[in-house]
Symmetry: C2
Subunit: 196 residues, 2 copies
DNA sequence: GTCTATAAGATGATAGAC
DNA sequence: GTCTATCATCTTATAGAC
């Protein structure tokens, strides 16, 4: 499950560069010409690897999603540490993004441009957020039962708060160009989830 | 202060339509041709009102900012109700956006496309978030002193949490097409600011 | 896999008539 | 204020040679 067909060298470089530029500018502001210039090839060569722009978009979205959810580790009911670990693993890419002052979350950027996206990307973005919501809800619900977290109210509502706060903070951080914007955000979320 | 030179009928319609489309699609996905079609005029006529696209962008951003901050009412130190009112007034446009399933915050969308924006828009977007941060910090700080809110930690950190959560939630709501996504978000924020 | 050449359409913008 | 006409440039994409 979650078989991610490995990309060739050029295709991977294209995916990496496209991801990087979209996180800075948005999907509609990155062209095949931009990628060609960066990699020192011609736009026609890009179409060999990714026939359409939406193919490229779907590839980078799948990779991003895979990186976000397949590295969290097992959730073991009753084992508080497994939930703390999964939560901390989930924050690894967030902490990384926090330091990149001109980038924000790929899926957040795509979400902002939602109505202008090709249909397959629309579906992929929706699904990312749904998957994230389901995972976080389970993490918080079972994690609270296991004693890893402590908060009032239902886990689903808290999952929405966590996802929204991180997404919004990453966006505002980029617009303000402040690589330290998220420091206090992460502290605040910790305080909300683990008061004492 | 805050003199907003009134726009003529066509210019206002252009600003309204541009705002609406950008909130759905993003700045780079809305063209003069889109606006011309909507209003039944020619693209050349748009250039009469707004010589460049960035002129139009700045106009809609200023209007949006004015609508967000000039309607909050006075903050009266010691008067808890004035802070509760200002907070609730701040949420009026948020509640309105919450119901529009395919739109998100204009400034959030522009923030997502930040690196691709013309320089004046970049500066305007940065400034919006800075102004919001300053206003919210004061609102929460003085409001807590007045007894309108109750929370731990410093007001600046809480202001970041509030702004980020709302921004992120509005974005995710659009991507999920869920007009009810924000219901629990607003409840959760209330619980965080006014526990008991 | 990468190239040249090219197409067909979109895009932001200007000049000048009405 | 709005129009027609026009522009230079960019954008995604294809055909076919190497």
């Amino acid at each position: 499950m979650n078989v991610m067909k490995p990309l060739g060298k050029t295709a991977a470089a294209l995916a990496d560069t496209f991801t990087e530029l979209v996180m800075e500018r948005g999907y509609n502001a990155v062209s095949y010409a931009d990628l060609a210039k960066r990699l020192g090839i011609r736009t026609a060569s890009i179409h060999y690897h990714f026939p359409t722009k939406s193919d490229l978009g779907m590839t980078v979205l799948r990779r991003y999603q895979d990186g976000a959810f397949s590295t969290l580790g097992p959730l073991v009911p009753g084992d508080a540490q497994s939930y703390r670990n999964a939560f901390e693993n989930m924050l690894i890419p967030v902490r990384s993004l926090a330091k990149m002052q001109s980038s924000s979350c790929l899926v957040g950027v795509l979400g902002a441009e939602f109505a202008s996206l090709p249909d397959d990307l629309k579906a992929g973005v929706s699904q990312f957020f749904e998957t994230q919501q389901q995972f976080l809800t389970r993490l918080l619900d079972e994690g609270r039962d296991a004693g890893a977290f402590a908060f009032d109210g239902d886990a689903e509502a808290m999952a929405k708060v966590i996802a929204s706060t991180l997404q919004g903070a990453i966006l505002i951080k980029k617009a303000r160009g402040d690589a330290h914007y998220m420091d206090s955000i992460l502290d605040s979320l910790n305080a909300i989830l683990m008061p004492d």
